[in-house]
Symmetry: D2
Subunit: 347 residues, 4 copies
């Protein structure tokens, strides 16, 4: 009963096999091989337009490079208070962007409130040269709270970005989970709504290590080539990333894997809603659930082998009793229905 | 006849298979899994002491983090003029160390001349606060010229580092090739000679992506954990690196692969020495050869399918005629004896 | 009626004359002249112990260098939400410290609440390598809200710094104003309470340009020498700063100037408290007042030649009516009693 | 007999008095006062066009900000091997530009050889993404060797900058000395030749602290405002710089001071050329001389109270005997004819 994180899973067999297949023979290095090109083209097809693709080692790298490309002295990046870039990246966005300030925007269930975002941007501009200058907005889809911005919600953020002339980045570490949750297309969820740069994550959804920074504005690709290399993120045997994306995108495998993960989370959610000792803190829709349990129930589940994390209670969640706690459950392509059933039965 | 670079090879089958074997099941993330620990322990055994091991995405990352850990304002790093950090890393060492200056030391066949190194360090100190301050020395083993520092030569550099109280880093992108060339042990070639930090490369010698920064002084490990994370180099599914190192180090596979690559280079060298239209620019000993060919011979070889790079003629190489060029040939674990024979026959 | 800022004043005649006196003759450069040493010694006397003194160009430089000296990867600096470093320095602290994150601590009247500070530090540590690491605490004395931390309040912050092994910095842009307000000694208000680094400002209190970073731990002085130089803050004709500090500290001129400024603010406060159309937003004690005025009264005052800034209403100030605004009034060594009387009469 | 450096002089009386005159009254801060505007306009007149002017604390700051404004990842700046930015700024240019690499160009008497500059830029481009990218060229006028680029020589460098699409910066720490040496106008020596950014130094030529970064392309002014502030180089009482420039530029005082300094150097040069125990290492033309003396002569002069620095012998200077040394003599606005006579008599 492993619900700790989707990065506790390994790699899907088809993706692991793709690496074996690509292991033989020689190919040119540093992202120039045929397989690299094939994977790049596959991404252009997925997004229904030409995109510039940069494979990198981690989601943190993709996010940080996206922000670095918007770099301005005294620059400020606007993100949700619980965003990965704000909370979980050890200053990488600040390092890559030479000291940008991340400015936290509040909002329930992991989503920036557009009015607060707008207010904060104006506040930032009001300080003149002393206050620094806005440089980018970044949003997370699916959010760190497991929720999914609707297309209209993305559009509302994008409208602010456009009005303020700020590039808009999407952290898509769980892009596939959000996509199948909305039942829309990659193009509709990104550039058609106003997204300029995308961290496209494959690692959490069945790859070993497959993260790509995608630029919808290809005029910035040349500079990004240098940014990636000087950040030590250019793989020599880049085709080992390409081989993963190749298998990941072929025949919609990536969507199948996300549907499985989301489906498992949905089963969990149903069981929890029906339970008397557990309840959802808020509805999600992706492969992450946030659950309020009696502390003794949580302890019992852990004793039975369930693995999941305690989660800090956000200020906006006010109905957690003294003897209760907030817990996060994450499913993945590798989650088994049997484990879900067992968890529900025990809680 | 691929002699362009050892990073044009793919992955050795045993290593690719190790990834498949590790793909199933769940394991804790960010370098804390059992497989991560196993690979870490294997490296401690290889080096005959406790070491702190940090998996990273690229050799550039390992080098840059090593230098970042020595960071000082106005800091200067001393390296050979042809070193990878100086020539081929797009400013990553400077970026990671917040603007350190790399100071180039001359010397033939890719090796720093100890007297020039010493002179340059003293010169640097002479400028007081205006001139900045020495912060580290980095040497490459095997060198970018394909040669190998002898143990005595390493010791001579290390003596300067010790006298000047500077950390000494070894860029071991081709560590295994140097090691089997010297016929010594990893411990003898590193910390027993005075090396403090090592970039231990597996990628060029049969892995997909297996680079580790090794600290012999484990007291610096805690800080390095933060340095790695804020540089976006901490893999979530870190065990995919561990699985590669696990197979790489088991039963001495890594040494066998390096012996093969060096052996192939040796065969090439013999053939070239016997040829009338080609000669070695200097003897090497590892898996890289630098060859002087008539330009028309080089063109003919390329027309026959040989792949190899033209190389800039260093100032110290004075006997290259107008109609000749300098070329680099690199062998790897994947080089076939048949290709070597074919190349020799054609040149 | 200039109450816009103490940096709208020029220089006190005695200080300007000191520059004229020092203009002749030759003296060694870069902080090594006799006058530099004299000013340094004067500061050691003022603080009743040996201190290391670094003249810099701006208060922002002093603050940023203080934080840079505490630099850690993924580092977090804790400061009040309204602190100058957080709001008004255009990312200089982040730039100088290679991307540190400034973490805002709440508290009324410009003072960090110790319990919130402690909680935030613990929260930061809880994230492990992902969450980064605490690296310093900085407090402002007098605060940006014009208030003054009592000695006991400084001690409470210092106790947390000590327990958490974090260096404690004081931004003393208005150090003299706070000092005469408390009626204590420089030593008592700083190192005897646990302050490790001090930005000692003279510019706002009658100098042209006289800012010093003071290290109570002189073992860090050597490194600071390099930090200052590589930040382009080492003056060649450093004695022009020394000449100002020399006159500033002689015969307690600095304290007289601060007493005058505070006294003028006190007169203003009394007049405002007696007025029916104005009231203090909170009591201060230094040379800054925050006043709630009817917007039409403010407009009338400005029409009569009064110069002062509108101020954003902090969330903790809840009794400002629709037709009222918050305004800041700052006095200085150059404020005239006549202007104070005129202002009071008009409001 | 002080010939150590022009920054050992104090301030010219007219400039010191200008500070006294400006000390009274109130004026808006951060570069917005009437006096700031007046000094800015004076510089526009001096350069016969609209320029954007940024006062900063040091020449190092002006140089580093100029390079920061050209910032590119993996960027390389080309400068002479003896340039101040390369040798004497403790990594400030690298820090301000987030890790740019300074690439040293050789050439006698302090001047870059255009052919070597061109070759190095091409070499840099040849490395592709691994080798980084050219980002700026910086030249020093007068040079660190005391010589002066002719207008044709500036044009030759500028032609390369233009062809390579690189911004061209001039470090004018001794701008006035070069200008009166050439007998040309500020416009002719800068933007009319192709200079894009200028560090305009007043400190060495009679000011206390008066350095300005001048942008001939005013479209970059907005960004520079943020760069300066986040580098902690924006003075609050900026008018104390303006007051110096105001007096400096009025009635050609700055040119008179430079003529005096150059004239004193010329007298020294004549005396040295006539001497049997001393000779010029190379002719200069500005206010710096480089002299070859018998070591015992140098010791004797120092014993008699002459102050001047030993200087490292550049590789290109080959006729210095064992018992001789190279020495630098610098004159300034404050150098007295009597000291020059005394020096000549003694050598």
């Amino acid at each position: 009963m492993i619900f700790s994180s989707d990065n506790w899973a390994g790699a899907h067999p088809v993706i692991a096999e793709s690496l074996v297949k690509a292991a033989g023979g020689f190919a040119s290095a540093y992202g120039t091989s045929d397989l690299d090109k094939k994977a790049g083209n596959a991404l252009s097809e997925v997004f229904e337009r030409e995109v510039a693709v940069f494979f990198v080692a981690t989601g943190t790298a993709a996010n940080s490079l996206a922000l670095a490309s918007a770099n301005r002295p005294g620059g400020q990046v606007f993100c949700h208070r619980e965003a990965h870039v704000y909370v979980d990246e050890c200053g990488a966005p600040e390092f890559f962007s030479h000291g940008a300030k991340l400015s936290a925007i509040d909002g329930t269930v992991g989503k920036m409130r557009p009015d607060l975002l707008e207010k904060q941007i104006r506040h930032s501009r009001a300080g003149g040269v002393h206050g620094g200058q806005p440089m980018a907005i970044t949003m997370t889809q699916a959010t760190e709270a497991g929720t999914v911005y609707s297309l209209a919600e993305i559009e509302a953020i994008a409208a602010i970005a456009k009005a303020e002339k700020l590039p808009l980045h999407m952290d898509g570490a769980r892009f596939a989970n959000a996509l199948v949750s909305l039942g829309t297309t990659p193009a509709e969820m990104t550039w058609k709504r106003g997204i300029d740069l995308l961290s496209f994550g494959g690692t959490k959804n069945g790859c070993w290590c497959a993260e790509a920074l995608i630029l919808f504005d290809t005029s910035k690709a040349e500079e990004m080539g240098y940014l990636r290399k000087r950040s030590a993120q250019l793989f020599s045997k880049s085709r080992f990333i390409a081989a993963q994306f190749d298998a990941y995108l072929e025949d919609g495998l990536w969507l199948d894997l996300a549907r499985h993960a989301n489906g498992m989370a949905n089963e969990l959610a149903k069981g929890i809603e029906a339970s008397e000792s557990a309840r959802l803190a808020w509805p999600t829709g992706s492969n992450e659930l946030f659950v309020i349990l009696k502390k003794e129930t949580a302890a019992k589940l852990k004793a039975q082998g369930a693995v999941f994390y305690d989660w800090p209670v956000p200020q906006t969640l006010t109905d957690v009793a003294e003897d209760e706690g907030l817990y996060r459950l994450v499913t993945s392509f590798a989650t088994k229905a049997e484990d879900v059933r067992q968890f529900i039965a025990a809680c």
